[in-house]
Amino acid sequence: MSAANTDIIQMLNPSDCFTLAMDEEIRQEKMPGSLCGFALELSGTPDIEALEQRITEFGTRFPLAFASLQQRGKRYFWCQREQEHPLFYQHYNTHKIDEVIFHKETVVRLLNHKQDRETIPPVEFHLISSTVKNTFLMRWIHPFCDARGADLILKYLCTESLDARKRFDLPKLEPLVNTQLAKYKWWQKISLFFKAKRYISKLDNLQSIIHADTSLTPKRLNFNTYTLSLEQTQTINTLARQQVGLTGTSLYYVGCFMRALHKMNPKQAGEAYCTPYAFNLRKNKALSPLLSNHVAPLFAQAPKALLDDKAALLEHLKQQNMQTIREKFDYAFLPVMWAASWLSLEQHGEKLRNSMRTGTERSSFWFSDIGHVDLSNNSFFGSDITKIYHLCQISSPPALAFLSCQFNKQLTFSYNFIEPLFTQKWIESLHKNMLEELLTP
């Protein structure tokens, strides 16, 4: 290593590089890059001193939280900074504006914060406080960790016992993408590589239906969240089980969301609805690895002709998903991501994702379902958690992301959208359609 590179902490793994390519894509649109958020709404004020101590402990245990993303040659690395930045911030409603507006606008502002890739902190924790409400927001850039990692960080913060916290991120593991790749002989990697290329080409035969008004310039990320009642959640869980079975709960949301979009304008140009989703390489309930990305992309795609028949659509998505696993397309992306990690970010985007504004974007919307969020005692430093939701910046197109999670037996949907390509009113109508789809047998 040359003297100039002595500040390198670690290299980005192929899955991190994939998220960095998305970061680049979003930045090219003069938007903030791949910022993500995980928000907890709290019934009261948490124990701020204890929270701050826990965050400090997190920073000491995981110094990558203070690192800076730097390019060395073609590749990117996490590097040490000269000065550590704060991890914890507090925001108060000093201008006494409407509580709801204050919380929402603060979250929107934080998720739209623009800062150079080299100087933006990988992760920050924000407590937004007003008289009757508190929101705890964890904001991170995607190369730092994936959604499962963010979930683990929150679990770490919420874990009271020091001994239990020490178990996080142990055993120390290599990036799971590399571990999985190491299981293959070189000819198997090549075979998987071409399998993934064929899979991508097949998906690209059908042009994705995109509802965003792409003639407009992206201005900012906005979001709407909806928490469903216990009864609605129960009904949806039952219908998902009945209509898609035990193996495809998330596919029920995907299918219903495709139909909800279709209803917004059945004549929208394009041939199919398509959405990428992440295949996580971690074992479920594992506490390691905590940081970095350990995912590969997969796709759910449905031709327009199937949209009018819900049962046929859901069966199609289910069979497609089973075929994906049967044919090992999930693992096929690993050598592609590995090979692409040696390319420049621009080339990476071209090879793995279709370039923006070419009219051939592979996704109609982004999708993530993190399932049940399980935080100890459903409380956060002495305050009850009333709601949890996710946020993410999105490339335009598709300029739309549907993120779901279940907490306290209630579903929360977070619709993330880029304005003015989508409007709040449009999203409200979309949610009405979505509810109707989800709740109708």
Partner: protein, 78 residues
């Protein structure tokens, strides 16, 4: 058969602190076996044991423990 399924689940799908203390009747769904994991497991069983497990039988009762899984597979093994 059960040991192979155990190894696959604990090596690839779910993390438990002490797999040796996880009994054949313990609840796999509670332990973190999710929809994606169930699909992977079914593909593995079909490949390893040369059986076809019908979609219509993918039910919590058939996948919620090692004993239930074994019973289910044995029903379809000629």
């Amino acid at each position: 058969m059960k040991q192979k399924i155990r190894n696959f689940i604990f090596d690839e799908l779910i993390f438990v602190t002490e797999p040796e203390n996880f009994s054949d009747d313990d609840d796999l769904l509670e332990a973190g076996l999710d929809s994606m994991g169930i699909m992977r497991l079914i593909m593995y069983i079909e490949e390893q044991f040369g059986v076809t497990l019908p979609d219509s039988e993918i039910d919590p009762d058939n996948v919620n423990s090692f004993n239930a899984l074994e019973q289910w597979v044995l029903q379809h093994k000629s």
